[in-house]
Amino acid sequence: MTDLEGFRDLLRGPAVAAGGSVALDEIVRRGRRLRTGRRVAGGMAGLAVLSVVVGGGVTLWEKTSFAGPAPVEAAAGTWGPAGTWGETVETGMAQRGGQVVLMLSFLKTTGMQSVGCFEAAERSVSGCRSVADFTERTFATGFHAIHAPGRVEGMGELPVFGYFIGPVRAITAKADGRTVTAQLSVWSEDADVTLFWFPLDEVSPEAVLTDWAAFGAGGKPLPTGRARLDVARG
């Protein structure tokens, strides 16, 4: 027999399980991802479904409870940024239709998607194009939802853009044999999510990007994930 205090000492006793150290960066990264996933799931739980005509067919548009402009009727292939979540990123690239802005949004059917639009002086947004990622891997480390360069009629050119999950500090690719560097903007809602784009004055809409790479702190290479990187002009 032992007394209760002796037993409690035994429980507290020498660290038999010692050896590991707390992986704070990994814990924070997984925690952010979990938090974001919960927010998305929570937002999706209260979705109101609206119909928007896209490209002659009917697509179910999921208007989420996230803050953002209401969905608008749109021409074929373009639509308004309903369901966008977080702050809009200003790229500084001026086009006929306004400044190119980027954002993230969610569709119930396709999950997280990156959205590029033209924002006019009065902050009205139009001429949007988006690329969706699949829900089941929408939060995996690496590149996601990469939009090919393309012209939006009457608005101008949209650059290559997308989002990256992970502690990225730099994104590069090769365009016509040159190494080009993307502009980055950490998403307002989750520091583990970064929106990126290649400025049009560095990467022409006709260029084909190859050899994509992502780097973390200290230049450490990061996994690129499973997104399609062979983007061609749309």
Binding site: T2, L4, F7, L10, L11, P14, A17, L24, E26, R35
Partner: protein, 171 residues
């Protein structure tokens, strides 16, 4: 880095060793304990803005307990028995290791609920009411499980140890 992150990192660095130790007492496996403690902190981080002003350590303990309970519900596991190994006697250089080995063997002889209650009560020093809330059982059940667990572990309890002795339990 956001200030919330700094606070969490400080909390996690301070709380991780105890969470891991508790998980080790509950699972008896280093790697499972490491994973369980990390999982508890991941979920605590995800809820940080909501719980940081309350008692984040209590939240982490609850998540840890639930996580390990979930692991126990999986098909492959060891079954508890009534036979507790004999205590090692004498002192030598390996005594600490031997005592810990005995402890793990003894804890493994408890039922899952007895083990949870004993570790929560006597390692985390959680009040019976809090243990009851975490496990979703009555306070009386916590007292009974605790007494049975300590009896199997051959832990003697004094009157002022605040442990309810169930009928038939020798002291």
């Amino acid at each position: 880095m956001p200030r919330d992150d700094d606070e969490f990192r400080e909390f996690a660095a301070a709380g991780f060793p105890r969470l891991r130790r508790a998980a080790f007492l509950l699972t008896g496996h280093d790697q499972q304990a490491e994973d369980a403690a990390q999982t508890a902190l991941v979920k605590t981080y995800a809820a940080w803005s909501r719980i940081r002003r309350d008692d984040p350590y209590a939240y982490a303990r609850k998540v840890l307990a639930n996580h390990i309970t979930d692991q126990w519900r999986r098909p492959i596991r060891e079954h508890a028995g009534d036979e507790v190994p004999d205590r090692p006697g004498g002192r030598d250089l390996a005594e600490d290791v031997a005592r810990q080995r005995w402890l793990l063997g003894a804890l493994a002889a408890l039922t899952e609920r007895e083990r949870l209650v004993v570790v929560m009560r006597h390692y985390f020093d959680m009040p019976e009411a809090e243990v009851a809330a975490v496990l979703g059982i009555a306070v009386g059940s916590v007292k009974s499980l605790n007494s049975r667990g300590l009896r199997k572990l051959r832990v003697s309890v004094r009157d002022d140890d605040d442990v309810l002795m169930v009928p038939g339990v020798a002291r």
